[in-house]
Amino acid sequence: MADRLAYADIYAAFKNERATYEKLVERVVVLLKGAIKQAGIAGEVKGRTKDLASFATKALLGGYADPLNEIGDIAGVRISLVYEDDVEAATDLVRECLYVVRSESKLDALAFNEFGYLGVHCDARLRDGDAVDSDADLADRRVEVQIRTLVQSAWAEVSHEKLYKPAAGVPDELKRQIYRLVALVELFDSEVSRFTQLAAQTPGYREAEALRPLADELLQRFDIRVRPDRYLSLVMAAALLPLYEEVAPDALYEEVMRKWIEDNEDALRVQFEEAAALRTNPLALQPESFLIFERLTNDQARLHDVWPETIPLSWYEELAAAWGHGHT
C-alpha cells in the first residue's frame, strides 16, 4: 500500500511539471535544428518528454529521494547525424547553444577490446538569454542531449527494444547476437567516413556537391521534376564555380545563391516555365542554370569568357537572350 501511495505521489508531482518539460524540449529542438541547419550538418533533431508512467516507474524502482531533480533524462533531445565526422562539430554546437553542465563520450568508457554504444551525452540547461521572462520556469530545468550517428541510433533503439523491454529476461547468448552488431555499426560509420574523405578528393566532387542545394531549389521551389544530367553538372560546375573565387564551393549556396534566388524568384519562375514548355536547351532545367542566370546578371563577360568548349555556345546564347541580357 505504501508503494502505491508513493507511486501516485510521484505520478501526480510529475503530472504538474510535465508541460514545462515539454516546452523545454520544444525550445531546445528549435534551437539545435536551426544551429545544425546553419552549420550545414546533415542530420535530424528530435525530442521527447518522458511519459508519466515511465517516469514514475523509474523513480520508484531507482529509489530516488528527489526524482524530479535526480533523473537526468526527463527532457531528452537527440541529434542523429548522417556522418560520424560531424559528431564533434555537433557537440560544439550544443555547447554554443546551451549551458552544458556535464558531458560524457561513451567511447571513453570502453577499453580498446570492448565494443558498445558510442554516443555523446550532454546534461544541459538553456542559457540565461534563452529563458525569457515568460518562460522563467525553464531556466533551471535539465535536458539531456544525445549526439550520435543514425546507425548508432538504430542500434540503440533495436537493442533497447529487444534486450530491455521484454518482460521476460533474454539469455546472455541471445544478447550477444545483438551486441556483436555494435561492432558492425562502428565499422559502418568508419567506412562511410573514409569514403566521404576520399570522395571529396575526387576532381569535381566538391563542385558537384555545391550544386545539390540548387537542385533542391529547382525541385521544391520551382517544381521542376527533371533529373539533372550529371555530366553536364560536372562540366558546368567546374567552369562556373571559379567565377565565385571569393566563396568556398560548399558555402556558395548560403553566401550567394539563396538570397539571389529569393530576390529573383519571379523572373526565374518565368524562365523555368518557358524552358519546360520549349525544352530546347538541356541546360535550362539543370541546377547550374541558377549560377548561369546569376552570372548573366552580375558578371556576364566573364561567364562568356569561361564557357566550356565542350558545351555548345548556342546554349549560352539562348539562355542569355531568354534572360534578356543579350549575347555578351
Binding site: V270, E273, A301
Partner: protein, 339 residues
C-alpha cells in the same frame, strides 16, 4: 522601368499582312483573324523569349507623338484597359499596318499579345517577315525510301531570324510606357514607329550618344591604370568616330574592354541612362569632344589628345630625315610606370 524578365503573354492573335500590290497586279488585302490563336504554352514561351531578347538588345524607349494621329495609341490603350479588346483593336492595327506599308515592305504577320509584366498588364506587338529554311521530308519514290529536301520560304520566325520589329506597352500614370525595337535598321523604321504606331523616340540618338560618352569617360577617368585609361579612351572615341551609325555596346565591350572590366563598364553605362544593347549613333552633340589628334612613333610611343589641347601644348618640329622633335609643355599631372 519595364522589367521584361517578368513578361508573360496570356493570349495571342495573329493577322496576315500581305505585300502591297504593284501596278497591274491584282488587289490584295490583309487576312484578319476573328479569334485569338489556340492557347499553347510553347508558342507563348517562344514569343515571350523573342520579344524579351529583341527588346533587351535593341529596345528604345518610345512615347505617343502628339503631332501624329492617335489611332495606334488609342488601340493600345483600349487593349491595356480591357483584354477583350484584343481582337477588334488588333484587327484595326493590322489594317493600319497594311495601309502605311509600301512596295518595299514584304509580306508578313502582325502578332499582338496580351499579358503581364509582374502585376502590370502588358501588350506586346510583333511584326514578322518571312524567313526561309529547308526541311527533309520522307518520301517513297519507286518503292524506295528517301528524303526529299524541301525549301520553305514562308517561315515566320526561326530562333535566328532578324526580320523582326516589336514593341511592348504598359500602362503608366501619364498614359503608356513603351519600348520599341527594330532588328533591321538603326533606330526604329519611321513607317513602323511614326506612321503605324504614331509614336516617337523618347530620346534622340544624339542625346543617347552624348550620355554614352559622358558615362564612358567618367568610368574611364575612375580607372586606376593609366594604360587602360588610354586604351579604352582611344577605343571609345574610335567607335564614336567610325562610319557605323549603329552602336552595339555588348560587341564594343567584347572587342575593346578587358573581360574583368566589362561588368564595371556595363554598370557605368547603364547608370548613365544608356540601355545595354544596340542604338543608333548620332555624334552631332559631341562632335567637338570626340575630335582627337594622335601621333604614333616608330619606337611605339603614342601621343593622343584633344585637338585644342594639342594645339595649345604640343609643338612638332622637323629633326632630320623622317624624324620629328615633339615638345609637350604642360603641367605634369601624374607619372605611372609598370614592370
Amino acid at each position: 522601368m519595364i522589367d521584361l524578365q517578368l513578361l508573360r503573354l496570356q493570349t495571342l492573335i495573329i493577322h496576315r499582312v500581305p505585300k502591297k500590290a504593284g501596278q497591274g497586279e491584282a488587289a490584295v488585302a490583309p487576312t484578319l483573324s476573328d479569334a485569338p490563336t489556340p492557347d499553347r504554352a510553347d508558342v507563348k514561351a517562344f514569343f515571350q523569349r523573342r520579344v524579351r531578347a529583341a527588346i533587351a538588345e535593341h529596345g528604345l524607349p518610345i512615347e505617343p507623338d502628339p503631332a501624329r494621329d492617335h489611332f495606334g495609341a488609342d488601340a493600345i490603350e483600349a487593349m491595356l484597359g480591357d483584354a477583350n479588346e484584343l481582337t477588334p483593336q488588333s484587327r484595326g492595327l493590322a489594317a493600319r499596318l497594311f495601309d502605311v506599308q509600301d512596295l518595299r515592305n514584304t509580306a508578313g504577320l502582325l502578332v499582338v499579345g496580351v499579358g503581364t509584366v509582374g502585376d502590370r498588364r502588358a501588350i506586346a506587338l510583333m511584326k514578322l517577315e518571312h524567313d526561309s529554311g529547308i526541311r527533309a521530308e520522307e518520301r517513297r519514290i519507286g518503292g524506295q525510301l528517301t528524303f526529299e529536301v524541301v525549301v520553305h520560304d514562308d517561315l515566320l520566325l526561326t530562333p535566328h531570324t532578324q526580320l523582326f520589329k516589336g514593341a511592348v506597352f504598359l500602362p503608366a500614370e501619364d498614359g503608356v510606357e513603351a519600348l520599341g525595337a527594330d532588328l533591321q535598321v538603326p533606330g526604329i523604321a519611321d513607317f513602323f514607329l511614326e506612321d503605324f504606331l504614331g509614336f516617337r523616340l523618347v530620346e534622340t540618338a544624339a542625346v543617347t550618344t552624348e550620355r554614352l560618352l559622358d558615362a564612358g569617360e567618367r568610368w574611364i577617368a575612375g580607372l586606376p591604370d593609366p594604360e587602360k585609361q588610354a586604351r579604352y579612351e582611344i577605343a571609345l572615341l574610335a567607335q564614336l568616330q567610325s562610319a557605323q551609325r549603329r552602336m552595339n555596346l555588348p560587341a564594343f565591350a567584347q572587342a575593346s574592354i578587358d573581360v574583368n572590366d566589362r561588368q564595371g563598364f556595363r554598370e557605368a553605362v547603364q547608370a548613365g541612362g544608356v540601355r545595354w544593347g544596340t542604338f543608333q549613333m548620332d555624334t552631332t552633340a559631341v562632335e567637338s569632344r570626340i575630335k582627337r589628334v594622335a601621333y604614333s612613333f616608330a619606337s611605339g610611343i603614342k601621343l593622343v589628345g584633344k585637338r585644342d589641347a594639342m594645339e595649345a601644348h604640343v609643338r612638332v618640329e622637323r629633326a632630320g630625315e623622317s624624324r620629328a622633335r615633339v615638345t609637350v609643355e604642360d603641367e605634369l599631372d601624374r607619372v605611372h610606370s609598370h614592370g
